[in-house]
């Protein structure tokens, strides 16, 4: 399998505009090429089917639960997207989330009067420090992020267990104002989800409109070429890992606020779910393509599948299998579209157009 090939064709697939107006391109194919749209369609179809089965699925309470459920995954998926776009991966986010969540609980145990914004900032800072460890090790060792973050996945989780030593933190140990953050709604929308929306919008705007944001795509498409054209590759990748760590820290604090009960196992195994959300959302695993909006929609879709299976009375044990099948379908679809697009581009350049 030729890796660079995948990256290139997939990039072509997502930067569609030049021939968008051509009549020969079939409509369905054009729609499928915009991943966000096909995700929205899938999400809509899923909600419709579920609603036909049980109309209470779209009651305000259940929508609230749904939004609350996906907020944390969305935030993590945004951080992961930033990393994957640069042709790296961060497997340690679940462990960072667990560590920060527990640290937040400990903070309130040690200093019950801490105002929650301070706790939030401290959590984000701790996450950023963890991310800096990842980024620093990757820069020093010059080895793939997969290996380093696999190592820190264990290391951070181990520190978490060592610190917790079997202890559990309960909701009663945390101030009311902080816990309210996790359940409060603003105009019917959970605050948690609003935070996630802000994160998605900010990251989306950054990736789309900032020079350094565009450079992340350049790095992921071809690191060597990016370096030759003057992109500070090392610095950007380091920054991306710090950002991913900080977002995982934010997610950790929100996790603590939402669930209240914490032990050292919080967020175990979350990393694969996050990567899955990004991949389903159309972020190419070899970098250079994808958007945070797609990844966020992927996270929402994965969460919604979980709740609709319950409503549809399908054995909840099917959930994970469906998620797996969805990942395979998503990358298969990407491949198919990329191959057709590449064939078309070849044909056009052969005609000299």
């Amino acid at each position: 399998m030729s890796l660079t090939d995948t990256g290139v064709t997939e990039r072509i697939a997502n930067t569609s505009p030049p021939d968008a107006g051509r009549p020969r391109r079939r409509l369905t194919e054009r729609l499928l090429a915009v991943r966000e749209l096909s995700l929205l369609l899938a999400l809509g179809a899923l909600i419709l089917v579920t609603m036909l089965h049980n109309d209470r699925f779209l009651s305000s309470q259940s929508i609230k639960d749904l939004l609350l459920g996906c907020a944390i995954l969305v935030i993590l998926a945004v951080g992961q997207t930033l990393v994957i776009i640069t042709r790296n991966v961060d497997l340690s986010v679940g462990s960072i989330l667990g560590l920060v969540a527990f640290a937040t609980g400990e903070l309130f145990l040690a200093a019950p009067g801490t105002p929650w914004p301070a706790a939030l900032l401290l959590g984000v800072a701790l996450g950023a420090v963890c991310g800096a460890v990842n980024g620093g090790l990757i820069a020093v060792a010059k080895v793939p992020a997969l290996v380093i973050t696999l190592g820190t996945l264990y290391a951070f989780r181990g520190i978490d267990y060592y610190w917790a030593a079997g202890q559990q933190i309960n909701a009663a140990d945390m101030p009311r104002s902080f816990l309210r953050l996790g359940n409060q709604t603003l105009l019917g929308v959970p605050v948690l989800f609003l935070v996630a929306l802000v994160v998605v919008a900010a990251a989306g705007f950054y990736l789309h409109s900032y020079r350094s944001g565009r450079e992340l795509y350049a790095i992921g498409s071809e690191p060597a070429a990016a370096r030759l054209s003057g992109v500070p590759v090392g610095r950007r990748v380091f920054a991306v890992f710090v950002a991913s760590g900080a977002l995982a820290g934010l997610a950790g604090v929100l996790y603590a606020a939402r669930f209240g009960t914490l032990d050292a196992a919080a967020g175990t195994g979350l990393e694969l779910q996050v990567v899955a959300a990004a991949v389903v959302g159309g972020v190419a695993i070899f970098g250079g393509s994808g958007s945070v909006f797609g990844a966020a929609l992927g996270a929402v879709l994965l969460t919604t599948i979980g709740s609709s299976l319950a409503v549809l009375r399908i054995d909840p044990f099917w959930q994970q299998a469906v998620v797996g099948a969805l990942i395979l379908a998503a990358i298969g679809l990407d491949r198919l579209l990329a191959a057709r697009m590449a064939a078309r581009l070849r044909g056009r350049s052969a005609r000299g157009a």
């Binding site: 399998m1 995948t6 042709r87 060792a141 992020a145 264990y154 951070f156």
Partner: protein, 353 residues
């Protein structure tokens, strides 16, 4: 593999080449990393038997080896797969699915246990073939595919058996797998592990197929032009990996006398850790089976010794993570320092002359 070298190897190729020339006799025989890891293993065993009570007992050795059987078995095909530049993250889920299939068949089919074991190994091979088709047939990145099948197979293993456990396997079978070889404290199961290790070792190091694996890991395209059927070889590697997973599923079920959907959850990351610790490059094309076997043993001995020394089992993941990071950071740091020293020496020679 996946994350193509964003940070390419330090520019010490020529230096390393000359160095190798000088020390060829010493290093060519063993390979420096293999030697280092075997030496590390010896040191750890010595230290542990001196300082940790109950470590150097026959009973402990028996448990240690027995606990390592699944890891050792899974690491064998994984080594070959990583050497070709691919990865298989679905191994633990295949073990889980094999285990529940075995439980379900024992529960409801009335087949003899011998036949069931054979069927489980065959279905493992089938699961591996699905991975192989996606990776080689459709040309999809193995990292993404096997994250998908990781979720899919784990989900299916819950579908097969739900959250119940099957535990009524005949006692003579469950006893047989934990029996030591008469007169020693070495478990019988070590024999098939050694045999398989021998087979994989011979294939990797002494056959044209094995050389071809390194060739495709270094440059798949060049290997194709050299007449290696890259796709077919990789496909069969994934099939072999699946079959070994089925075997481990059988062993796991009998060893713990329990077939459950969550058997071996999370083991995939430990397997990858052991393989990388054994000196196999995640980029493919480098590494050997001896190092991996030593890596598996080192991982097992360290964890066992620390557990006997009353370190919390979960906090032990710090050790796993640190070992993994050290195993990739140290060689790079050493190579870096050596290259720098060499340059300085050259400069000194130039100024002197």
């Amino acid at each position: 593999m996946a994350h193509d070298s964003l940070y390419t190897a330090p520019p010490s190729g020529a230096v390393a080449g000359r160095e190798r020339g000088r020390l060829a006799g010493l290093r060519g025989a063993l390979g420096s990393w293999d030697a280092a890891i075997v030496a590390g293993l010896a040191v750890v065993v010595l230290l542990a038997s001196v300082s940790v009570p109950n470590f150097a007992t026959g009973r402990n050795a028996q448990f240690l080896l027995l606990d390592l059987v699944p890891l050792a078995l899974l690491a064998l095909p994984m080594t070959l797969i990583v050497i070709t530049g691919e990865i298989d993250l679905s191994v633990a889920s295949m073990v889980g699915l094999g285990s529940t299939l075995m439980g379900q068949m024992w529960l409801s089919s009335g087949l003899s246990l011998e036949l069931i074991c054979v069927l489980v190994v065959l279905s493992g091979a089938l699961l591996g073939a699905v991975n192989g088709v996606f990776v080689t047939g459709f040309g999809l990145p193995s990292l993404a595919v096997t994250i998908g099948t990781l979720a899919l197979y784990r989900g299916l293993s819950f579908v097969v058996l739900g959250d119940q456990a099957v535990a009524d396997f005949p006692a003579d079978w469950t006893d047989a797998v934990v029996q030591p070889i008469p007169g020693t404290s070495i478990p019988v199961m070590v024999v098939p592990v050694l045999l398989l290790a021998l087979v994989f070792g011979v294939v990797l190091h002494a056959t044209p197929v094995g050389r071809a694996l390194y060739a495709m890991g270094n440059n798949g395209e060049a290997a194709t032009f050299a007449g290696v059927s890259v796709a077919r070889t990789k496909f069969w590697l994934f099939v072999a990996s699946g079959a070994v997973c089925g075997l481990v599923g059988v062993f796991w079920t009998l060893r713990y006398a329990s077939a459950r959907g969550d058997n071996a959850t999370g083991l995939e990351l430990t397997v990858v850790t052991a393989v990388l610790l054994g000196g196999v490059s995640i980029f493919g094309g480098r590494g050997g089976l001896l190092g991996v076997v030593a890596g598996v043993l080192l991982l097992g001995v360290l964890r066992n010794a620390l557990q006997l020394a009353d370190v919390d089992a979960n906090a032990l993941t710090i050790v796993t993570g640190t070992l993994l990071i050290a195993s990739v950071v140290l060689p790079h740091a050493v190579a870096d320092v050596r290259a720098r020293l060499h340059r300085r020496r050259q400069r000194a020679q130039l100024t002197a002359s």
